[in-house]
């Protein structure tokens, strides 16, 4: 089942490549159609997991291990547990939505959608791979389509942003590669099987643990991105086309934290405990720093991009609280809710950009009266982003605060809470400048209300945001057993 999540998009990519270049309509709808089976399957798997597997921390839907490259002990080994299942569903959802949101792409349509489907395959692969090598391959595979998507269809500084993203991430991955190799050769018998390495990982000598952990951390931290490795993010986000920003924010950033939860944390428990304060500190810095920088932004997309830095900081804070299940659960919640909310915000910014061809905050004003529905939705997500109760962001932030407060330095967590106010400040500032105030009729009189297709892309995100915010129990139960197991692993 899990394989199909990877191979359906791949097959779809080939299919799209075979379509004639000018059949834009067919290309678009084919790719959307191709992305629907993975969406359905990922949700179906989530449901299955919820019903049958949620009570245990073991991997479900396991495929393999089948030998792939026997000489290097590389195996084709897939599986999903409470950490990956919700992220799979998120990926499925956001992929379809982003493909729908990409209909505005009008040049080199075929290549765009082909790359997008390749990207989807890569993303799915990262979340299900249980073999290190496989994981690494999927991790890198995503870079290439991303590079093209930003580089070809991006904004004015696309080349810079694309290569920056590429080099930055590759720079991180090489550290991961070294660590993988070291782990491989220190394990007896040599293996790349993550599950076995997690079991044996805690027996590594102290220094080696620290080194490997640090290497993995750099790789994942760049992806998250943790301050001060975040500078690729604003550029990539701003230059990327809307749908790509959505995927970047919604899924790619999660890979960093996913990697930490899946690999670094359980595998190097000693090192995690050793570094936990510093990890949390980086998180707090990111929260405050990202929020403050957001406040200074003049560009809508940049604002959302920096808010991502801030929001992913919450994840890092939670990840610093290694002993607290609440915090780790909060981290998972935050990953998902950030995916939903920031994804939606990027979509909405894109909607506005398509019409106004500018993202400058200062040039707008009073759009609330001209575009009531659009404004309402945007305000909704702004509120969700600043952590309003009843929406998913609140649940996760609250969880993180409560959990990490018990586990970490209390003053530090207290400072992190400042992020809540700063978050409100920059979001409301944006809302006010764009949607409230005087409406400039002569300039923006021609703006049209959000259309049906765009609405279709956003409404599911609203529904999930509200659902998680109002009734987090199912999601929590989905992950609980896995995360509790994770914490016991980290306590070794």
């Amino acid at each position: 089942m899990l394989s199909s999540l990877i191979f359906i998009p791949l097959a779809g990519m080939l299919l799209v490549m075979m379509l004639p270049k000018n059949a834009k309509w067919a290309i678009r709808w084919t790719s959307v159609a191709v992305s629907i089976p993975p969406l359905v399957i990922s949700f179906w798997l989530t449901w299955q997991f919820f019903v049958n597997h949620a009570s245990s921390a073991a991997m479900a839907f396991v495929e393999g291990p089948y030998d792939w490259i026997p000489l290097l002990n590389v195996q084709y080994y897939l599986g999903a547990d409470g950490i990956s299942i919700p992220l799979l569903a998120l990926t499925g959802l956001l992929s379809t939505i982003s493909l729908l949101a990409s209909f505005g792409i009008d040049k080199r349509v075929k290549e765009y959608f082909a790359f997008f489907l390749l990207l989807e395959a890569g993303m799915m692969g990262v979340f299900v791979a249980l073999d290190f090598f496989l994981f690494y391959i999927f991790w890198e595979v995503m870079l290439v389509p991303m590079y093209f998507l930003i580089g070809v269809w991006g904004g004015p500084r696309k080349e810079y942003a694309a290569i920056k993203f590429f080099l930055y991430t590759l720079f991180g991955s090489i550290f991961m590669l070294v660590s993988i190799l070291i782990l491989y050769f220190t394990a007896e018998p040599h293996t790349l099987n993550m599950m076995e390495l997690i079991q044996s990982g805690s027996t590594l000598p102290h220094t080696l643990q620290l080194v490997c952990f640090a290497f993995f951390f750099i790789a994942f931290a760049i992806k998250v991105p943790v301050w001060p490795f975040h500078t690729w993010l604003p550029d990539a986000h701003v230059e990327a086309p809307t749908a790509v920003s959505v995927i970047l924010a919604g899924v790619l950033l999660k890979m960093g934290t996913y990697g930490m939860l899946r690999i670094s944390w359980p595998m190097f428990p000693e090192a995690v405990r050793y570094f936990s304060f510093w990890i949390a500190l980086l998180g707090v810095i990111a929260i405050i720093y990202g929020a403050l920088v957001s406040m200074a932004q003049k560009d809508l997309k940049k604002l959302v991009a920096y808010s991502s830095v801030s929001h992913m900081g919450y994840c890092m804070l939670a990840l610093g609280a290694v002993t607290s299940v609440q915090a780790i659960t909060g981290c998972m919640f935050q990953m998902i809710s950030h995916g939903l909310i920031t994804g939606a915000l990027f979509l909405l910014v894109g909607v506005l950009y398509d019409r106004a061809h500018t993202r400058e905050i200062a040039v707008f004003g009073g759009l609330g009266s001209k575009l009531p529905v659009y404004s309402g939705i945007m305000v909704f997500f702004s509120m969700a982003s600043l952590g309003l109760p009843g929406m998913s962001g609140f649940v996760s932030e609250f969880m993180i605060f409560v959990g990490s407060f018990a586990a970490l330095n209390k003053v530090m967590v207290g400072i992190a809470v400042l992020g809540v106010v700063l978050g409100a400040a920059y979001m409301l500032r944006m809302v006010q400048n764009v949607f409230l105030g005087e409406f400039n009729l002569s300039k923006w009189g021609g703006l049209t209300e959000i259309n049906f297709r765009e609405l279709v892309t956003v409404v599911p995100l609203m529904v999930f945001t509200l659902w998680i915010g109002l009734y987090p129990k199912p999601l929590n139960e989905l992950m609980q057993a896995t995360l509790e197991h994770l914490v016991t692993l980290m306590a070794r």
Binding site: Y168, L292, Q297, P389, F398, V402, V421, A424, A425
Partner: protein
């Protein structure tokens, strides 16, 4: 009914949903639906109240787990006791009046139905806040009322000042919430539960150290500071008057701002356990009350005066609650009127302040201005409004036998044993009476100062005046439940252990005198004009300016907090782009520079050597003629140089055991190297000469 009390909150929510999704374009229906739901809530609240009375205040609690995070339950539940029942009544009553009033007030607004949907959403949030049985849930609704407050303050968002005020309100209260969250985190960390009962049990059994408890209680109070606009976060409430007047009446006078008071009352057990925290609460209440009252003395905007009055009265309540916590905390057997006084005043204040705002709204509706200096003599034109407004003013001033009289007396009584509090309470009471009647005299009596406005003034439609009348009735009578000998209100909120009180004749007399004095002074200045207001202002110019500018709080904040933060944000952005990013780009840049250096090396050294040699040869210049080179030979030379380096690197002891033939071989090769050096020099000279020739 009590078992279905959640319906009280859910009915308005349903109304909100209905209006947003279905009734948007049917304004009449939307408003009707909204009013019907709040009336239904009111009815249910009444039943709940009666049932609670019937149960003799036995608390009723039920809940379900929202979710459980390893050890901590997050629950949604209902807790009904006396306090809840009273608050329910207060909220639904004022809300009903405001709903009906809005029919008239908002009649021609283009977003009429949206207004009612917001009102319904607010009612849902506020009622949920009241019904909550745990800190987590109260926080959720706490934030939701903040959201609706934001939406309603900024309802006329085309007006920049309104949008600004909404933002300011939201962010300022969020600063308070920040403390609240920290408090909640402490609750979670130390008590392991959010349920009121659970937490109080832990507190009572002494499982939480007092120091922690003090900090925890203080942080939770931060929430109340924000929401109830206490010093130092009081600055948002006057600005919030940019919202439509019914909103001001409902949210910023009667209910939401009282949520802070409610929170303190609700978590009174914490403060009893931590008297120091309770003292902080009391002091902040007093300071706020005094500051707000003093500012209220000189303002000219009718709604702002009322807003400062609200802040002041809230400070009163909070002070009373704090004192109760302190007194009982220090001595469990102490008799303090504080708790009872605070909640009682909360109720009466809701009615008469709601009335005052609605009345003010009615006035504004009639004369289209907020400035009391432009009004005057409206008594004749607006009978109902004027009468109810003056009644409410008397009530707030504390004139027998109106509602305010009873509750305020209890507050004064609560300061018993704290002389400073006592004196300041009376001063504030005096100021209250003064500024309220300054307002009344300037608005309703005397000659109209703006004839044009006066002529257009008229009594408001019935949808507006009837709620006024109804609230007027309550402003008069609501206090009677608290007539000490009846044991009414005290037993009501305490059930079981009522605060046995009797008439404090001394307090009553003193406070009445103070109130009357305030009214008389206002009469002399603003009606009889026997004392010139301008003269007074001139005489106390610095104080007047200081008060008129609201103690310069806004300026201070923007100078000390807001601007630095914005500047920091901008600085960090630059920092981010230049330094953090610069480091990364710098690494890339270095590579390129390195490549350039190599290029430069090849171009000027290698190439220069070659060209130089060619030039030398063509010039036929003497000594160097013999030593020639081409690029390819340079490569070979490079190799040999590398070879020598390798040898040297490999073999340090080679130098000692070196025999002469090897040495000579090396010398020969070294000669080759020497020729390179010579050529380099030559090429530089050549280059220099070419330069000069040009």
């Amino acid at each position: 009914m009590s078992n279905y009390a959640y319906l009280i909150a859910l009915v308005p929510l349903l109304s909100f949903v209905m209006i947003v999704f279905f009734l948007r374009w049917k304004e009449k229906l939307a408003a009707g639906w909204s009013i019907a739901s709040i009336l239904a809530s009111w009815t249910m609240s009444l039943i709940v109240l009666i049932e609670t009375l019937g149960r003799h205040g036995e608390p009723l609690e039920y809940f379900f787990y929202l979710t459980t995070f390893k050890g901590i339950n997050f629950e949604i539940g209902i807790l009904i006791d006396g306090l809840t029942a009273v608050m329910l009544m207060v909220v639904t009553t004022v809300a009903s009046c405001v709903h009906i009033y809005s029919l008239g007030y908002m009649k021609d607004d283009p977003r009429f139905s949206r207004f009612f949907s917001y009102l319904s959403l607010f009612c849902f949030s506020m009622l949920g806040l009241v019904l909550a049985n745990n800190f987590f849930m109260i926080f959720i609704f706490w934030e939701l009322v903040g959201l609706t407050s934001y939406l309603l303050i900024g309802f006329w968002f085309e007006k920049k000042s309104a949008a600004d005020a909404g933002k300011k309100a939201f962010i300022t209260t969020r600063i308070g919430d920040l403390g609240f969250i920290v408090g909640l985190m402490m609750v979670g960390a130390y008590a392991g539960t959010f349920n009121y009962g659970g937490v109080f049990e832990k507190v009572a059994s002494g499982q939480i150290p007092t120091a922690v408890l003090t900090v925890m209680a203080a942080f939770i109070f931060c929430g109340a500071i924000g929401k109830s606009a206490q010093f130092p976060l009081h600055v948002w409430l006057p600005d919030a008057m940019e919202g439509p007047t019914p909103v001001s009446a409902l949210i910023h006078a009667a209910t939401m701002v009282a949520a802070g008071v409610y929170l303190v009352a609700r978590s009174m057990n914490l403060y009893v356990g931590a008297p120091e925290a309770a003292m902080i609460v009391a002091v902040i209440g007093l300071v706020t009350s005094f500051i707000a009252a003093s500012i209220g003395l000189v303002q000219n905007d009718i709604k702002r005066i009322l807003a400062y009055s609200t802040v002041s009265q809230l400070g009163y309540m909070i002070m009373a609650l704090g004192l109760y916590g302190y007194d009982v905390g220090m001595d469990p057997h102490a008799h303090s009127a504080g708790f009872y006084a605070g909640t009682f005043h909360l109720m009466t204040h809701a009615f008469f302040k709601g009335l005052l705002f609605l009345g003010a709204g009615s006035v504004i509706h009639a004369v289209h201005t907020n400035d009391i200096q432009d009004m005057g003599g409206l008594l004749g034109k607006m009978k109902i409004t004027s009468v109810t407004f003056i009644l409410a003013s008397l009530s707030i001033a504390g004139i027998f036998p109106l509602a305010g009289f009873w509750s305020k007396d209890e507050i004064v009584a609560a300061t018993h044993g704290h002389p400073i509090f006592n004196i300041f309470t009376l001063i504030i009471a005096f100021m209250t009476a003064f500024y309220m009647f300054r307002l009344c005299f300037l608005t309703f009596f005397g000659k109209p100062r703006d004839q044009h406005r006066y002529e257009h003034a008229h009594e408001s439609p019935r949808s507006m005046s009837w709620p006024l009348a109804f609230l007027g009735f309550l402003a008069v009578s609501a206090g009677w439940v608290g007539i000490p000998t009846l044991h009414g209100f005290s037993s009501f909120v305490f059930f079981g252990e009522p605060y046995h009180t009797s008439f404090h004749w001394d307090v009553m007399i003193i406070s009445t005198i103070v109130a009357v004095a305030g009214i008389v002074l206002a009469y002399l200045i603003y009606y009889k004009k026997s004392i010139s207001a301008d003269m007074l202002a001139e005489k106390f110019r610095p104080i007047h300016t200081f008060l008129y500018n609201k103690w310069y709080f806004d300026e201070l904040y923007s100078f000390v907090i807001i601007n630095p933060i914005l500047a920091l944000g901008r600085f960090l952005w630059t920092f981010d782009a230049r330094i953090v990013d610069g480091l990364v780009n710098g690494a890339a840049w270095l590579t390129i520079v390195w490549a350039d250096i190599k290029w430069w090396f090849d171009k000027w050294i290698v190439d220069g050597a070659v060209n130089g040699a060619g030039w030398i040869v063509s010039q036929g210049s003497g000594l160097l003629r013999l030593i020639q080179n081409g690029a390819v030979q340079f490569y070979a030379l490079f190799v040999l140089g590398g070879l020598l380096v390798l040898i040297a690197f490999k073999y340090e002891d080679v130098y000692v055991s070196l025999e002469w033939p090897w040495l000579s071989a090396i010398i020969i090769v070294a000669l080759g190297l020497l020729s390179l050096v010579a050529k380099r020099t030559a090429s530089r000279e050549a280059a220099a000469e070419t330069e000069t020739e040009k």
